[in-house]
């Protein structure tokens, strides 16, 4: 056992995994700083409801779970820096931060990345209107904001979030015009059998489905939103069937929510240079980790959904196991103690991990959509790059995402490709014979999101600028 090393640990992300890990790490006696961009910890699932949402949304597991987690965090020795974002990092893991108090740096430390997931989108004509939100976005607006995305909503995309969002719309008194699912009914039946291993999730799913059926909401499987047209009062949405493109269904709704599953947020891990691989089942890039979240860098761990999408129960277990493993790596506990502390969570993790992995193809059921997207459709929302532009660049020889970005500006805008990367990759693999690995991913660049120029410049005099010596004549 190495001699105990009590140097600081920084946890990025105060969701379920990050908060759990931070609390457990500080119980091992480590000085822990937890950084989160929101004003309260909880991440997306346990996001703290607004005072208004507390009144409008019926009490639920996410509210109580989040309150419990925030209570534990407050009672712990963890230094919590809320309203703070990481906008860059150095090779030695100095973190560049920006918060309400301005810019600051955190000196190199062991970093636990727990920055969760990002939603995946596939474009269709009209998807950039403000009347369309992400599916996870709609859920956050309702749960955290107690506010309906619209009085009538079409819920579209793939994965279990479809039914959760539809349920939330009804709960707040809205109407669901239709549910449009890229997955097939058979996929869900197959999953249903697996869910028996996870009775609590099963019970919830069954109750939502029963409620939606009772409300008489049309559910289209193997279908997708093929266009959204703005009307006087809202949207006219076209639903197409994947196996019978000529079959179309029209719905009028005030708004639509659409999302095609989640993917790990990898800007920070890619920027830190840890090894990643393409997970074929999930259809996304994820950092290569062991069960405890160790990566190819000894000073960087990844935990929760950031290490691969497995959902909230797994996130908590992963957070615990990562914290104990880090304590063991630091020589704070023996391997025997690690084994005994993590025996139960690791057993639960194995069982739930199997269930969650089965969910991945369902979340990625829209994977075939991006390759067939209409030429006129905007793929990159920020730079307004169309599918036709991307296809033409691919034909000119841009067969890798970074070359595609360099030649078309796709992914160069403020979101840094978070919204368009999956579509761009699917367009590459669908247009030429490159694999997702060959197509790669956009190089992560600083800042990770736009920074006010004055936050970098601050107050200064001309004489403060350290002008280097003049360039040669």
């Amino acid at each position: 056992m190495p001699s105990p090393d009590f140097s600081p640990v920084t946890v990025i992300g105060g969701g379920i995994a990050g908060s759990t890990a931070a609390i457990a790490l500080s119980r091992h006696g480590l000085p822990v700083t937890l950084i989160d961009e929101q004003s309260e910890a909880g991440g997306q699932i346990f996001r703290a409801p607004s005072p208004y949402a507390r009144q409008t949304v019926p009490p639920n597991h996410e509210f109580s779970g989040g309150d419990t987690l925030r209570g534990k965090l407050a009672a712990s020795d963890v230094t919590v820096r809320l309203g703070t974002r990481v906008w860059g990092l150095s090779p030695s893991l100095t973190l560049d931060l920006i918060g309400s108090d301005g810019m600051s740096q955190l000196p190199p430390s062991t970093v636990v990345v727990a920055n969760g997931a990002t939603e995946r989108f596939f474009p269709f004509p009209g998807w950039t209107t403000p009347r369309i939100t992400g599916l996870a976005g709609a859920s956050i607006l309702m749960r955290n904001g107690g506010t309906l995305p619209g009085q009538t909503v079409v819920v579209a995309g793939s994965g279990p979030l479809l039914f959760s969002v539809a349920h939330q719309v009804l709960e707040l008194g809205g109407k669901v015009a239709a549910i449009v699912d890229a997955g097939s009914r058979t996929d869900w039946f197959r999953l249903g059998a697996m869910l028996a291993l996870d009775p609590s999730r099963m019970a919830q799913a069954l109750s939502w489905m029963g409620q939606l059926r009772k409300a008489g909401i049309p559910i289209h499987h193997r279908s997708f939103l093929s266009s959204a047209q703005e009307t006087e009062s809202g949207l006219l949405l076209t639903v197409s069937e994947m196996d019978h493109p000529q079959r179309r269904h029209l719905y009028a709704a005030e708004t639509a929510a659409c999302g095609y599953g989640l993917k790990p947020s990898t800007l920070i891990t890619r920027s830190a240079g840890v090894q990643h691989h393409h997970d074929a089942l999930g259809g996304y890039l994820e950092p290569v980790t062991d069960v405890a979240g160790r990566t190819s860098r000894p000073d960087l761990y990844v935990t929760g959904d950031a290490a691969g999408i497995r959902g909230m129960a797994v996130a908590r277990l992963r957070g615990l196991v990562t914290a104990h493993a880090l304590a063991q790596d630091r020589g704070l506990i023996s391997s025997a103690t690690y084994e005994s502390l993590t025996r139960t969570p690791r057993r639960q993790l194995r069982r739930l991990d199997a269930v969650s992995r089965r969910m991945l193809p369902l979340m990625n059921a829209g994977r075939e959509l991006a390759a067939s997207v209409h030429d006129d459709t905007i793929v990159c929302r920020c730079e307004r790059v169309t599918a036709a532009t991307l296809r033409s660049a691919i034909h000119s020889g841009a067969k890798d995402l970074n070359q595609l970005k360099a030649w078309t500006r796709c992914g160069m805008g403020p979101c840094q490709g978070r919204m368009c990367e999956d579509s761009a990759r699917n367009l590459v693999t669908g247009t030429c014979k490159n694999t997702p690995e060959d197509a790669g991913s956009f190089t992560a660049r600083m800042p990770f999101f736009p920074l006010p120029l004055t936050s970098v410049t601050g107050t200064f005099d001309y004489s403060d600028i350290p002008l280097p010596k003049a360039a040669p004549l």
Partner: protein, 87 residues
């Protein structure tokens, strides 16, 4: 239990909006029927809150002149909100 939400008013461009202190600006604006939060600097098309988790950057607005994310910035009394885009 927390206290009930306190109703406040604020302005978006020239409109007076009612909301509750501490709720996300995007939620209050949406209930007031305001979905467009700005325009694209590239082609002037409408932009609004999309991802609600700080990724898409499309819900950025200015609160009393300072850039903020409507999906998470909390409402406070008498705040003045203008679109972010300058074009």
């Amino acid at each position: 239990m927390s206290n009930g939400p306190s109703p406040v008013t604020f302005t978006y461009l020239t409109q007076t909006i009612e909301g509750f202190e501490g709720e996300p600006v995007a939620a209050a604006l949406r209930r007031a029927g305001i979905l467009e939060l700005g325009r694209s600097g590239i082609d002037n098309s409408s932009r609004g809150a999309f991802c609600f988790m700080g990724s898409c950057q499309e819900c950025r607005i200015r609160i009393n002149g300072t850039v903020a994310y409507a999906c998470k910035a909390p409402v406070f009394s008498n705040m003045t909100i203008t679109p972010y885009a300058q074009s």
